[in-house]
């Protein structure tokens, strides 16, 4: 995949893996397109069937006119054949058994030899493969040599025995310059370092774990004090998600930028504390790397199914801002926004990523950093300001925007106040007085409207001639854009709006109001974005038509195109 990328050809990878440690089949899907489409595809031109267990399924999965490559060391049943595809048998096991010693290295090398076979069949640049091997095994040179030997076994066998290259092969392009291949969790973990986060608390859960791994790895590299070699960060693996969010709130109460990565089940557990943070007005950044299903569901499959629980997490009247990155690049920049917004709004902010964005390899433009960036820490009074004040009250709406001033423990004697989730008045004191309670809870609504103006704008692709539009968000964006492009080729034009945040900004509202019919593309069963739009903007449900993909695999363009066309046809018939 990386070799193709270095040939200048856009490429994305999707990993389909089960929730286990070892022994169950895993698929890795590589999509190579000159157009640079980022989403999954339901078209499989070449399958390399390395697993006898799944051979029959893999055989059926290849599209007509495609190729199936398999290990021909052992014979396969005649029944398992297809006339409409080309089956290429290469004796990978035999080649490796003859050339390598030891069971372990024979098995490992078999999984390397196919790279050589593919290089020959698809005309992948061998020099680039060698260069990658040397980089990967820079510290273990003997491994570079043995891996190359395995690759050449596959390569030479194919050159000698088959007509190369296949009609479907790769040609060098110049489309990957200033781009990287990166997953969303890596990008988000890196952004936490750049945002100045110092406390990260978490409980391991698929598919969010690699976000903390990324933060830890970058911190070890970039966040050690030069003089003392001590850590300018503190990562705490908590006993559960309840504790993880508690730690985040304790740290942000004390003025550190703190975050926790988790997934749906973790959000369920964190809910009580999220309500606490909403009401006591503490910043927090929560990454929800969404996975499929209620309960344990399918932990290694993707969905966009936590919108409702995150938007309204916890009992009582609560609501929380959400951010919807569409790809790893946006994971990076939106993480920075999330920390700024959490500090400015003094409330938990959710970064709504998912397994597809978080754990799969995407091609993105290089992440850029502006050295002039200063974190927006919001309304925090320092010792000097407190000294000049007669008296400080925590929840007074001095500026009329619903955001009140806070102080940090230890800063100044005048800054002391009591943080509590129990009823409190605007002065910060405990109350059970109806009016005093309502004053604070109403002021939080003022803050909500302030938040609406601060959230990232929707990305809109608008031409006034269209009365019908498509809305999507997050990881559905790639497939939606591809669908739009391909529908356009059929002379079917739709306006497009990619939502980036909740509460919904004015531009999204205006967009919806300008259209008569809107398809909402999302990856959950219950049309959660559609519900949120109805709740927050009071949109007429009749004009919002759902296109829902929720089997756990990433959505793809053909699915959207078919659903759109089906609906349009129905409309004409009616």
């Amino acid at each position: 995949m990386k070799a193709i990328f270095r040939m200048g050809i856009p490429v994305v990878g999707k990993n389909y893996f089960p929730s286990n440690i070892q022994g169950l089949p895993t698929w890795y899907e590589v999509r190579v397109t000159g157009d640079g489409y980022q989403s999954a595809s339901n078209q499989l031109d070449i399958i390399i069937a390395m697993n006898a267990q799944t051979y029959q399924k893999d055989l059926l999965a290849v599209d007509a006119g495609g190729w199936l490559i398999y290990d021909s060391t052992w014979p396969r049943s005649k029944l398992l054949d297809r006339d409409d595809i080309t089956v290429i048998g290469i004796p990978f096991s035999k080649l490796c058994n003859e050339n390598f010693e030891g069971v372990r290295s024979r098995i490992l090398m078999k999984n390397i030899a196919y790279v050589g076979a593919l290089a020959a069949l698809l005309k992948i640049d061998l020099d680039i493969i060698k260069e990658l091997l040397n980089e990967t095994f820079a510290a273990k040179k003997h491994l570079a040599a043995s891996n190359l030997e395995a690759i050449m076994l596959g390569y030479n066998h194919v050159i000698e025995n088959f007509a190369c290259p296949l009609p479907l092969s790769v040609k060098p392009l110049n489309k990957t310059k200033n781009h990287v291949i990166i997953d969303g969790n890596t990008a988000a973990g890196l952004a936490c370092v750049y945002a100045g986060a110092t406390v990260g608390a978490w409980y391991p859960i698929t598919p969010s774990t690699s976000l903390m791994d990324s933060f830890q790895a970058f911190c070890n590299q970039l966040r050690k004090c030069e003089k003392t070699k001590k850590n300018n960060f503190c990562i705490i693996q908590a006993e559960d998600e309840l504790a993880a969010i508690g730690m985040v709130l304790g740290a942000s109460w004390n003025g550190a930028r703190a975050f926790t990565p988790t997934s749906g089940p973790g959000i369920s557990l964190m809910s009580e504390f999220i309500g606490f943070a909403y009401y006591s007005e503490l910043p927090a950044v929560i990454f929800d790397i969404q996975r499929a299903g209620p309960s344990t569901g399918m932990p290694t499959r993707t969905q966009q199914c936590d919108l409702m629980i995150c938007a309204y997490a916890s009992h009582g009247d609560t609501r929380h801002p959400l951010l919807f990155p569409s790809n790893p690049e946006e994971c990076f920049y939106m993480t920075l926004s999330a920390f700024d917004l959490a500090d400015e709004l003094q409330t938990p902010i959710f970064v709504m990523s998912d397994l597809d964005i978080g754990m799969n390899d995407w091609m993105c433009p290089d992440l850029q950093w502006d050295n002039n960036y200063q974190p927006k820490r919001g309304k925090v009074l320092n010792a000097e300001q407190l000294d000049a004040m007669e008296k400080f009250y925590r929840y007074l709406d001095v500026d009329g925007d619903g955001i009140t001033y806070r102080t940090l423990p230890g800063e100044h004697a005048k800054g002391s106040f009591f943080t509590r989730g129990s009823g409190h008045n605007k002065f910060g004191g405990y109350t059970e007085d109806s009016q005093e309670y309502q004053d604070v809870i109403d002021r939080l609504l003022v803050k909500w409207e302030t938040a609406r103006k601060m959230m990232p704008e929707a990305v809109i692709d608008y031409s006034k001639f269209n009365k019908t539009a498509i809305i999507s968000y997050g990881s559905s964006d790639g497939a939606s854009r591809e669908a739009l492009y391909r529908l356009k080729e059929q002379n079917k034009n739709y306006n497009y709006c990619c939502i980036k945040s909740f509460p919904f900004c004015k531009s999204a509202k205006d967009f919806i109001n300008k259209h008569e019919k809107i398809f909402i593309v999302e990856q959950n069963r219950d049309a959660q974005m559609r519900s949120l739009l109805m709740l927050d903007l009071e949109i007429d449900p009749k004009k919002l038509i759902s296109i829902l993909h929720y089997n756990g695999n990433p959505i793809y363009a053909n699915f959207i195109i078919e659903e759109v066309l089906k609906n349009e046809k129905k409309g004409v018939a009616a």
């Binding site: 370092v193 006993e239 230890g410």
Partner: protein, 351 residues
């Protein structure tokens, strides 16, 4: 009901500590707990301890969960920062707070319900981390705010206002603390301020996790209905007529005894607890010995008090994690951000 303020008058001759503050400066709002509640005596002991330790009020973090015990941080040191969190989760909040700013003093106040039932997991794990904090359990064996259910520390045979006597074994936080590897384990009694103040001071000054289990009688809900000498006898009579809570105006229990003596203390409800001060042969640095002694005392139905175990050498959370000596929240952003050049270098690793 709202809290009640106190007149802010300090006697001109009131004693001051070395940072020029009088004990009044360490007080909080008026307690809304029942008159005679053991918790109020503990509050008074905390005030005395932090006053004597010359702690700057605004550099003190008062942490709590939910319950009668967790309300008490409002009743001491008003000039400090309080964090009244959610039920059973004070340890995690304090962990995060300490992670961000290791320079402050943290006193966590919890109860037997908050620590031994809903918060058992967090209680165990904050011990594992050896977080530098003082952790006080105001232990009364009963849920007060929800009107008198047994807690996990209720003794076998103790009776709630309604229903049968408790038949489940109590959880002893001190045995648990020693078994889990806590580095400072003490037990006190709310009625013995003379012993309590030095214990609290020692726990605050201990670098690491200071566990203080303080037996604190509940005057309202832990009455033994069998006792004719208790207010419960009178209350029983009233309850037959009308189902209304009745709070007797009991006085605080005052207990005085000397080292090595065994002394039975009558609680409000007339039941007996036998306290024993740790004798001179006792070695509070021997974890196994302390544990054996403790279990023996439980079998004899005694409640031993004092500093039961201490390990002064163990690393705390920050030392284990090799964190900066400076509070993380005070490190300037410029020292935290790697900059444009580093990001460009990182990007080259992803091609």
């Amino acid at each position: 009901m709202t809290y009640i303020g106190k007149p802010n008058i300090v006697h001109p001759k009131a004693a001051k500590n070395s940072i020029g503050l009088s004990k009044r400066d360490y007080e909080g709002v008026v307690s809304t707990l029942c008159a005679g509640c053991g918790h109020d005596s503990i509050t008074a002991a905390i005030i005395q301890a932090v006053f004597e330790l010359d702690i700057q009020p605004h550099e003190l973090g008062k942490m709590s969960g939910i319950g009668c015990s967790s309300k008490t941080p409002a009743y001491f040191v008003s000039q400090s920062h309080g964090f009244n969190s959610v039920h059973g989760r004070m340890p995690s909040v304090t962990t995060g707070a300490n992670a961000a700013n290791r320079d402050l003093t943290y006193i966590g106040v919890s109860g037997d319900g908050d620590s031994l039932s809903i918060g058992m997991g967090q209680f165990a794990h904050v011990i594992r981390r050896n977080l530098n904090m003082t952790y006080i359990i105001e232990n009364n064996g009963v849920y007060g705010l929800t009107k008198g259910q047994y807690s996990a520390s209720a003794d076998i045979g103790s009776k709630a206002k309604k229903g049968p006597a408790n038949q489940q074994k109590p959880i002893d936080p001190v045995s648990m603390g020693i078994a889990l590897g806590a580095t400072f384990v003490a037990r006190g009694f709310s009625g013995d301020k003379e012993q309590l103040v030095p214990l609290i001071k020692a726990a605050i000054r201990h670098k690491g996790f200071g566990l203080l289990d303080i037996i604190s009688p509940c005057v309202t809900f832990n009455d033994n209905v069998e006792s004719t000498k208790s207010y419960s006898h009178v209350r029983k009579f009233y309850h037959q007529v009308i189902d209304t809570d009745f709070v007797p105006p009991a006085d605080e229990i005052k207990a005085k005894y000397k080292k090595g003596e065994v002394m039975p203390i009558k609680l409000h409800d007339g039941s007996k607890i036998v306290f024993r001060k740790v004798d001179k042969q006792y070695d509070p640095t021997d974890r196994a010995g302390a544990y054996t002694y403790l279990r023996d005392s439980i079998n004899k139905q005694e409640v031993i008090t004092g500093l039961l175990y201490i390990d002064k050498e163990c690393d705390d959370m920050h030392e284990i994690a090799q964190c900066s000596d400076r509070p993380l929240s005070k490190i300037p952003y410029e020292e935290l951000v790697p900059g444009t050049g580093e990001l460009a270098k990182i990007m080259n690793r992803f091609r």
